[in-house]
Symmetry: C2
Subunit: 337 residues, 2 copies
């Protein structure tokens, strides 16, 4: 038996096999020893000079004593220098490669997976994300800051196993975010309510896909999950941007991320995964530009375990086939919470 479902946020259609309970676990994690880890405390000189750090002790930059540290990517895809130049190449469009590409080192200790960190340490990592977004959004050439984590080679991670996440600041708002913004705006025009707020209310009533509810967050498996064990984390308080999240909320988010990370680790046996922060774009001082975004957009986090390869059908169509219903994923995760 299968159902064809539409994700209300993205207009993405998904075929969900509703009866299947067998979890595909045919992924592999190659072991990669790393003799001198550039992300460990004491090896600060092996990275480019730091951009930002949170320090318990009053030590100077690029010295031990930090709790979270942000450095530029050694081989950045985009650089901060220069103007944003938009050019037509015949029929095509081009923008100069302006932006930023930073690495967030999540702990001074050589720990591989973020769920092994203290909840408070994870909260400091998210506090760091917030500080970087606020800082980068001062530069109005930068339209969007995308923060994400790749864990495991099958999730696109490169060599270094020391737990870290990444940030890419872009000169254009990415298509998936634009699509989410447009969907949210369309719903708001129709209902005068936030789509995600309505979604959270419905899921809390229905309960079938609620993995975890805490004082400040709701964790669900999306109704039209594209991938087995896909997770979405929404703040209960309506807010379009992660920028204005309070420390109390971030501390609670640290606990949520630790518990969900631990449950995914146990159920899926150390899966490769990505998580991505979906916050608002950099609001430009132009009247009318995303005029209703404060009311209609709701920031959130997506976690995608990468235990299944996309096939040609999914590539070609944006129509996904998910072999595990989110209701089953929710039940399995709740056993471990």
């Amino acid at each position: 038996m299968s159902e064809v479902r539409r994700d209300i946020l993205t207009d993405t259609w998904v075929i969900v096999r509703t009866e299947n309970t067998e979890i595909p676990l045919n992924h592999r994690q190659p072991a990669k020893p790393c003799p001198v880890c550039p992300f460990c405390a004491g090896n600060e000189s092996n990275t480019p000079p730091e951009i930002f750090s949170i320090r318990r002790e009053a030590t100077g930059p690029n010295q031990p004593g930090w709790q979270v540290r942000v450095v530029p990517d050694k081989n950045p895809v985009l650089r901060v220098e220069g103007d944003v130049v938009r050019v037509g190449i015949g029929i095509h469009d081009k923008v100069s490669g302006i932006g930023a590409n930073e690495v967030i080192i999540e702990t001074p200790e050589h720990i591989k997976n973020f769920h092994l960190l203290d909840a408070n340490q994870i909260a400091l990592v998210f506090k760091t994300y917030q500080a970087r977004i606020i800082d980068l959004y001062r530069d109005k050439r930068l339209r969007y800051v995308m923060i994400f984590k790749d864990y495991g080679a099958l999730a696109g991670a490169s060599g270094i196993e020391h737990t870290h996440s990444q940030l890419i600041a872009l000169p254009a708002t990415p298509q998936k975010i634009k699509n989410e913004l447009a969907r949210a705006k369309g719903y708001f025009e129709y209902k005068e309510r936030c789509l995600a707020c309505d979604l959270i209310n419905f899921e809390l009533t229905d309960q079938k896909r609620v993995v975890l509810e805490t004082s400040h967050f709701v964790v669900i498996t999306p109704y039209a999950s594209r991938f087995p064990f896909e997770i979405a984390i929404y703040p209960k308080r309506h807010s379009y941007t992660f920028e204005n999240t309070t420390w109390e909320e971030i501390a609670n988010l640290g606990e949520v991320m630790k518990r969900i990370g631990q449950a995914l680790y146990e159920v899926l046996l150390d899966p490769p995964y990505n998580y991505v922060l979906h916050t608002a774009p950099n609001l430009l001082p132009i009247p009318g530009y995303w005029a209703t975004i404060r009311d209609d957009f709701h920031w959130h986090i997506e976690i995608i375990p990468r235990i299944k390869r996309m096939d040609g059908f999914e590539w070609g169509s944006g129509f996904y086939i998910n072999s595990i219903a989110p209701e089953i994923a929710t039940a399995k995760l709740k056993e471990r919470l």
Copy 2:
């Protein structure tokens, strides 16, 4: 050095490293022996009864003597029986899982990769695609027929190595196709010309990304290729649908596919890949529904070698990072043509 490029067809942004020439070849192809191949001639009873076949000899269905054979998927994600029922589940949308899921067996011989087939045999495979689309589009519940190939485990292929492709008929037009249709329509409204026709003309003038030009087809690497060695094949004659392609064109396409498949095999050392046919949706007999599609949409084929894993940034954003500029990919492929 990098450039940020926009794909005019899909509004997808891609960061292209323009100076890089090192091809990532860290994929692996696990060898999987298949003792009794259900797709080989003589083993017809090991598949569900056939739906369609092209036969040189006047043999009956499910007997040897076929050249191309189409059978239902053993474990289909969608089935033909039943009505299309659209239901609201609270805030969510659901459609009953109506559709079809077929396998196109491309040769009676145990050959693994389609480029090893004769050009004429490949043409018969595309002739079969055409026959299946025409047949399935008689059923107006089916909104779209997606035809694709998965080659290699890293491209999502399952166990059987005997060369085959797949067809999924859907009760909704997939998002990526809708997006392409909307982009084509928007351009046509502005210019009163087909976007893809203009693109082909520009690329033929510019030449930098033209891999191959034949009597009926142009093969390019898209300006904003999302993946290294991504390929697009366009018919020169404007046509919105693969349904009305002539045998002369299909015979020429067989030669094009063989040459491009061979070149990719040689340059990328037997890569996993997908190809996908992008044709028009099933036109409904409703006035105004896709009213200009015959003028504005242009069918084409996408080939995507899967030699690189998408990371969290690409997942989250729909903004891609491509380490090989398409101009370099074109040059490398032309050396092998």
